[in-house]
């Protein structure tokens, strides 16, 4: 029970944060493989510093269900031994964690200076037109999400697009339509990232 006298809270007079909590989602636990990966990873840090493993733990959630839900965060909190608010604090800070479903291919177009000098803005426009979505949106068939991101650290190969964990380099605006079609048919084989081509691993 509360000892506060009843008060008139006037919603209009308070500035309310526009922040929305992540959706709760389905009940979540790691698959046995992911549980094993987490248990391995947490050993990298001193025993009383389990929280250091939080980013890795969140990546595992994201791999497992595509994005991070409230239930996912609660599971991570349980694994780490911290509060769910601590986990949300971290999730909301880093740009690589998604709290909404994303497409099978997330096209992250770099928009920072070196890429912009070589036409990154046009690349975004073309991709946007080809896919019929704006940056930040996902196509209705769940295949593509378009995002604008800041410098990816590959400025010599501008304009760069990071697709999930791969890079595609030197994507000219004219190639965008074909690029999207190619991903639909050939998937990851399309990407020109030099890490995929320097030598066959």
């Amino acid at each position: 029970m509360s000892f506060h006298p009843p008060m008139d809270y006037a919603p209009a007079r308070f500035q309310r944060s526009g922040r929305k909590l992540a959706e709760e989602g389905e009940p979540f636990t790691y698959t046995p493989e992911n549980q094993k990966k987490f248990d391995e990873n947490v050993k990298r840090y001193p025993a009383d510093q389990r929280k250091s493993a939080i980013l890795h733990a969140l990546y595992l959630v994201q791999q497992q269900q595509g994005y991070i839900t409230g239930e996912g965060m609660r599971h991570v909190a349980h694994q780490i031994g911290c509060s769910a608010a601590d986990v949300e604090d971290v999730v909301s800070y880093y740009t690589m964690f998604y709290t909404k479903p994303v497409g099978k291919y997330v096209l992250n177009v770099c928009r920072t200076l070196s890429c912009a000098l070589l036409g990154a803005e046009r690349v975004t426009e073309e991709l946007s037109a080809t896919l019929g979505i704006k940056p930040g949106q996902t196509t209705s068939d769940g295949m593509f999400t378009l995002m604008e991101v800041e410098c990816l650290g590959a400025c010599d190969r501008a304009p760069v697009v990071m697709v999930n964990d791969d890079w595609h380099e030197r994507l000219s605006p004219e190639q965008c339509g074909k690029f999207v079609d190619d991903i639909r048919t050939r998937g990851r084989a399309v990407f020109s990232g030099c890490h995929l081509h320097v030598e066959k691993k």
């Binding site: 740009t95 928009r111 200076l113 426009e125 400025c155 501008a158």
Partner: protein, 436 residues
Amino acid sequence: MAFQPVLTNHVREPQAYTLDFYLKSARGYEGLRKALTLEPNDIIEQVKASGLRGRGGAGFPTGLKWQFVLKDTPRPKYIACNADESEPGTFKDHVLMERNPHLLIEGCAISCFAIGAKVAYIYIRGEFYHVQEVLERAIDEAYEAGHLGKNIYGSGFDCDVYVHRGAGAYEAGEETALIESLEGKRAQPRIKPPFPAVAGLYQCPTAVNNVETLCNVPLIVLNGPEWFAGLGPEKNGGPKLYCISGHVKRPGVYEASMHTTLRELIYGDQFAQGMAGDKKFKAIIPGGSSVPLLLEQHLDTPASFDHIQKAGSLLGSAGLIVLDETVCMVWLAMNLLHFYRHESCGKCTPCREGGDWLYKLLQRVEAGEGRMKDIDLLYGVANNIIGKTLCAFGDAAATPVLTTLNLFRHEFEAHVREGRCTLPAAWRSQHTVMAH
């Protein structure tokens, strides 16, 4: 004698990232073997004598940094390798990690030995997933062959190297923010002092060093400090990686001595080979997006920490962004402020609010809706960020605005006067989004 690359000499060869290759072709792990026969303090002295300066941005002498690491403490010590590489225009560290990962691992192990640490964490940015895979495979190889782990080469020295993947935050490159992120928190800087050398990771003494910095350490141990110092101008010794991007014919990562001038780097045959499309040179950002612009008259400056500073800018992370005559400086400042506004960690007000304000003002001027007093306001806001923030990010965010205003004020005024961007029409038509 012409300069011979020593960090990147093998990066184009097949299998360069494997342990076998490293042992056979690059005198792999000989530096570590030699280091373990020395006293830790001797290694610090050697690094000091070599004049090695941090390659992450600040150019701080590495030996000195290690010397400051608290000695008499019962707590463990740590090396945190800064592989966050997010400064726009910088892309050197991933080449080293992807193609020469064992050099970094060896550097981490020697540095641990020198400061008395047993664990090194390599904090790699989340976007470098493919680099992380290479690095982790290399670490596994090193453990298997006994270059890492317990009692290395029977010397009694234990060393573990782990990779820690970030998740997309430029600010995680700042050393105390990196430590916070390693501890599993938001990447927001701490108030200094205490410096990481006294209370860093888990409140233990920590040295934070850039990838390229640590890669130089095995070479210094192996070849001696005099060799290293002799490679460059005074106090700017050693090999340096330059990242050249923007309007040049052949952008890329080039290794050179710090005697090399900016002009050679842009026009030299073995470097970027000149301006793309034979357009005219307008300006260069010599050290990543956070440093002031240099102009044509500065091109004969050697690209060393001290010379670039004397010319009025900073070598920073050696990310050279070359701009040709078609670049609108208002647009450039706007593009960069979009970056800084997005990446501000939000911990202190001048940076969090000021960055956003600057961006909005620049948007207005670029769209041709600005007023003359907006130009003064830009100065005012930027000057109220610079030097008034918790970390150097604030200065970095204000710099693109101040440097473009100082050197190209007439472009800002022209935007206001004519009510539109004054870029050559041909270029604008290629960049339709800029027509607003």
